[in-house]
Amino acid sequence: MRGLFRFISKFYYVFLFLILEIAAVFFIINNSYYQGSKIGNYCNSVASKIFQKQDNITYYFGLSVENKRLAKENAALRSQLLTSFVPVNNDSIVVNDTDYVQQYSYVEAKIIERTLGKRNNYFVINKGEKNGIEQDMGVICADGLVGFVVKTTDNFSLVMPVLHQDSRHSVRNKRTNVTGTLIWEGGSYTEGRIIDFPSSIPLKRGDTIITSGFSSNIPEGIAVGYVDKVYLDKGTGFYEVNIRFSADYNNLKYVYVIKNFFQSEERKLMSNIEKDKERN
């Protein structure tokens, strides 16, 4: 017994080390999946208050850039207004406005904290359930695609941007209409990768990539990026494409969260597929 005590007192810090490491590993296991509650609770905790304060201070430094971006976006939107159009021939234009039903509405939000250097990155935005944000809503910005909401609390939401290994977005080549899948393989936040573009349809450097609209949370035609490098995978017959993102995720301040009014309807339809799978 005394030998045991002497052994423990001699190597006590090895045991302490092991105990602390086990505690830390438990912490990792609790946090490893984004829907595991801990990271979500982050939004409620002291951390978000600190970052809100930090944001209040650093906010002023980017204002001039942000103003220019907003002015540019306003100009683009203004040019789409009905008043910017002149009828070519008064007789031939008929506007049946009851033919249109609003599908998407947008909530503006500010990014208060983000990571970019990690393999799996997250953004925190300052709107939550109180503002009508729900899980799975799409998030875009003035320059392009951002990602979607994975977790909400009363006042904040956690966004999984395209800079995450679980991020999958259906995208389309604007010129040829070929669809593929956008993934991110780590590294620089300015570059993404598209897989599943068939090699039968040629691809050019500089082609614009937009969202395909196949996912219910992001509308069609949102800019994603531009084709930078193209590799041909001879084994599969598919292109592997490196793209430059059109949005600058480092300087991003304001984003839009998208509410899809038809989402529940689409979900109801999709649930049939799952039922079908269960049956087989």
Binding site: I39, A47, I50, N250
Partner: protein
Amino acid sequence: MSRLNITLLGALHFVLLLFAQVLLFDNVRLFGYVNPMIYIWFVLMLPYKTPHWAVLILAFLMGLCVDVLSFGQGFHAVTLTFIGFIRPFVLNFYTGNRDIAPYQRPTLSDMGFMQFAFYISLLVIIHHLLFFSLDVFRFDEIFPFLLRLFLSTVSTVVIILLCDFLFLRKRE
């Protein structure tokens, strides 16, 4: 320096480095790869004669705080605790037969440039290697992994050397 003073100084270092890391250096994102982790310095500069258990617990706490404040998922705690564990063995090479005053610290002016730079680089490389392995974990992403490791290590070491030179230099 009394025991109380050194404890207060340690607490001050803890808070300063934690906030410098979370509010300042986590926002440094050169080329998307570089992410200096200056909070490691807190463990590296504890006095030579800090008891082993205190180094371990302080390292764990520091890692945990950084984790909670920066989506670390616990990786910072695991890696920094490991650094706290191997620090005494690495320092043994340097202290050897030297007489160490009660609250002497491993700093630039204490160890000399070459030795200090080597000590910092060695522990920072081990830390970053472990940290990025936990973060990435895939063989097919080995190139971005190595680039990230290299650039982050260089930036962390340079910033620690600079800070030590600016703030801890003995003024004769």
